[in-house]
Homo-oligomer: 558 residues x 2
């Protein structure tokens, strides 16, 4: 039996998974893992929490040592070994021992590239001043911890308000540091649709985070002592004893490029469904590769551990000659800070626009995470996107304090199985008063969307509510309207609607709103059956407050 | 336009939903809801928590008043009105006004029966003694509360250890009452498979609940003062200041039977997929009807609010001439007590046996509810059942302190969509360290089952481990084995296995175990590739402790 020799470059999520899976499939293969860093198989996603001292013991981050790989899997792991070149013709890699400074060649039958992605660190003036950090590795996190523990910083600027930036923000606050987040986009969490990110913005601000949105950093200056000054495009400056850059990552493709492997349009390594590069002896996995979002059909860079793990398995299966296929990604992600959970799966309105998809509709809802009559129900703000032509579920975003990941996971599974909104309507989920509702938020999302699909309720677009010539009808109770309402809306409480139909115009469309959309739906049904042309502003005033946050802050006289 | 007249008998979950949906579909229909109780649309599932004073305000249980029905939905609700007969020929019902004592007839075009199910109250000696309660209605819960608040009972016996019985148990403990649960089955939560119910048993006992399993009650006696004595089959007696019967419910079919409607084999009203009874003008929904479990193909009585709600919608749609279909039930349920969550969906081993299904396999796993390196990970005990011939997911049961309902819900959605274990393997769920793992418990369940499907790992049956002639191999570390192990198992730690293959027999099958099944799987892969015949005892010693709880308590000498 000829022993297959597999060399794996990079031993974190994807690489480590691939190595272990290879061994399970082929007891005789020679498997060599090379990593230029000091550790393999470390908990990348835990680093912000180690900085924040939520994870206190560094050893917890180290999931498997080279020793364990050797003993358990008969796999050789060499850390502090960098692969500097690939000779595709001879099927060898050049390996530099970073400690000894020596170079050697390692032959391979199969080569797996799992180099990951590097934090972006733009060439801004002052970028190399002490106290400006990025976070990718255990040593990075150790350095930030050391800075915090020795310098005792009072203020920090986090550049970038994405998932990692907000996790860093929470962890720095946990350390007692005042945090300003500077984000180029006009919202936090740019993958989310803007109105859903509003809930996150509100929550962050209510927890004392200073958010500077729609502002790019242009440079850093030393400001006496250890203090830094962060300057933004508008000319504003922010003092900081510590700066963390979290403006995204860039796939590590240098090795692949030098070897002439095909690079995709998004600047990641291009692979086929078996994670095979343009060289049939070389596979690539993890943050460095481009993957297809199978919901939108777009190629994307998705630096997440879940897909990396799955890719590692697929590559191992392919190398061992098994039939296998990476299904692509659907964009499931979650982030938590200060007790709030923000999660999404599938397409967003943004990603559909980018993909040129127009065949979709959106519903909003704001159900409790469990039955309202049981104490402690927390609101989940949900946005569901579905294909208008056939009801296929395309994506969902959820924000709330409890039960958010659960509902987004259920919808993620539904999307994976190509479910329609009718399937969500019929979903049979676990219900007891402290766990959910007889009509679970997932059911409600499906029901509302199904109402649209069946033509029982037409949707009015929130984006046009300011400019429309439609008649705006608010069916809430008077006391609710007093607390805030759409400009120009006429208030007829739902219970009085049947008796007051004469007050409504037959000449124009009526757009109905309430607090969360349910009563407006009831009103729509009444009005439609009485021959009015009527649409529902989905999600009611609760959604409006997020779509038009500035307006919602104005006091309303009724 | 001729106004359709719909009469609905019973205004709780299904009936109330049906009425409201009817109105949304038909603004002109005349809708009359009759209920013999004092309330409609009350929170049935909340009653144990009202008894326990977790829900303190009775009005919280009343989700919609007759007044709201009238104002919002233009629906007439008459409480304390009992329907005593149906004249199918004339299409009228006889209604008794329970307060006035008068009788009247109400005509219908469509009749919907939503009478619910009554708690079983056997004709045991002493059953009518004061202090013995069942719990179905708001007045029932009020009576128990009154008993607790005026008599200050120190001890209670809950007869029946099913979901409601255990919810009652927790709530009585919450009131400071010592509780004995007497359950006829040899396990708590009879719908669960016995070994999964063991986790619940352990948890209940660790919270001071006295469990008497495999024992039926035979009668009650007055024992001086307000105290009762509960006598069981074995002759044992238990003092109780309060007894709650929760031994199941019986569908209220008397009205349907008297009217000659078809009754099914399980003694529920028989309906078609449109929830229509054998009389085309009469529909039936909720706890009183038999429904088809579409996973097992069996007809069942499923007294749960979720299905009742969906049935109410289907009946309303059908009455309004819409194309509609009740998909059946899949048995999703959840119950929580003392911080433990027990949930299930789809088929159990029991229900498959009952249905005569043999084509299935089972895997067990015990993952953390989130990444182990993040503080606070709690174990989820999972059992996954799948069809051996094609990998279709058939059912899952989960027990643990955190994240259980989420995983069971995801699998519920997968089952609904006819997913295979390969789909669970590829599920893309939300991951951040405090929410899950890059390989979520759902992924792990899918991966393990996929290993079986692909022939990478054969399963050994726990039920035969005591009698097998197979060689039992334990690949845990020595210190783990010292804490408890399978009788007769030989210990070779995984890391030493490759070097000690000579110690293993080639003449017989090797059954491998470890703590949770993962290392055993690794060992299986090593051994299989070295030509040994090998099987994994799925779930490892953790599962064994539940399958053979008594044995696991014995100290083990190694």
């Amino acid at each position: 039996m000829s022993r297959k020799r597999v060399v794996i470059v990079g031993g974190v999520a994807g690489g480590a998974t691939c190595a272990a899976r290879l061994r399970r499939l082929d007891e005789t293969a020679e498997i060599l893992v090379l990593d230029r860093g000091p550790y393999v198989s470390f908990a990348n996603c835990g680093l912000p929490y180690y900085v924040g001292d939520v994870i206190q013991d560094e050893s917890k981050l180290l999931l498997a040592s080279p020793e364990l790989f050797r003993k358990r899997f008969n796999i050789e792991v060499r850390t502090k070994h960098e692969v500097t070149a690939i000779d595709r013709g001879r099927r060898t890699v050049t390996v530099k021992d970073l400690e000894a400074g020596t170079e050697s060649k390692e032959p391979y039958d199969a080569l797996v590239l799992s180099p990951g992605a590097a934090p972006i660190r733009p060439a801004w003036p002052g970028i190399d001043l002490p106290g400006i950090f990025t976070l990718r590795s255990v040593p990075d996190s150790r350095e930030i911890r050391h800075w915090i523990e020795t310098r005792n910083p009072g203020t920090a600027v986090v550049v970038g308000g994405g998932f990692i930036g907000l996790e860093m923000t929470e962890n720095l606050r946990h350390r007692g540091i005042a945090v300003t987040v500077v984000e180029l986009a006009r919202q936090v969490m740019p993958p989310l649709d803007a109105e859903m990110a509003e809930y996150a913005r509100e929550h962050l601000e209510s927890h004392g985070v200073n958010l500077v949105l729609g502002e790019g950093v242009v440079g850093f200056e030393q400001a006496g002592g250890s203090e830094l000054m962060v300057r933004t495009q508008s000319g504003a400056t922010f003092d900081a004893d510590l700066v963390v850059l979290s403006i995204g990552v860039r796939p590590e493709t240098q090795l692949a490029r030098s070897a002439g492997l095909e690079i995709g349009d998004r600047d990641g390594i291009h692979v086929n469904e078996q994670m095979q590069t343009s060289d049939p002896h070389i596979w690539a996995i993890g943050d460095a590769v481009e993957v297809r979002n199978w919901v939108t059909g777009q190629w994307e860079l998705v630096p997440l551990a879940g897909p990396a793990n799955r890719q590692g398995r697929v590559a191992a299966d392919a190398i061992c000659g098994r039939e296998t296929k990476f299904r692509g990604v659907q964009g499931s992600a979650v982030c938590g800070f200060f007790g709030l959970t923000v999660a999404l799966t599938g397409a967003t309105e943004k990603s559909l626009h980018r993909a040129g998809v127009k065949d979709f509709a959106i519903v909003y809802l704001h159900p409790g995470h469990h039955a309202g009559y049981y104490p402690g129900a927390k609101t989940i703000h949900l946005k569901l996107l579905f294909r208008k032509s056939d009801g296929r579920v395309l994506g969902a975003q959820g924000v709330g304090e409890q039960g958010v990941a659960r509902r987004i996971d259920v919808i993620a599974q539904a999307i994976q199985m190509k479910a329609t909104v009718f399937d969500l309507e019929e979903a049979e989920l676990c219900y007891a008063p402290q766990y959910g509702a007889a009509k679970d938020p997932v059911n409600l999302a499906g029901m509302i969307a199904s109402n649209v699909m069946r033509g029982d309720m037409e949707l009015a677009p929130w984006s046009e509510v300011g400019a429309t010539s439609a008649f705006l009808l608010d069916v809430r109770e008077v006391h609710e309207v007093r607390a805030g309402a759409l400009a120009g809306a006429v208030n007829i409480p739902l219970g009085e609607l049947r008796a007051r139909l004469k007050e409504l115009p037959r000449s124009k469309e009526i757009w109905v709103t309430c607090q969360v959309g349910q009563r407006a739906y009831y009103a729509c049904r009444i009005l439609a059956q009485h021959g009015f042309r009527v649409r529902n502003l989905s999600g009611g005033y609760n959604t409006n407050s997020m779509v038009h946050p500035e307006e919602a802050k104005e006091p309303v006289a009724v």
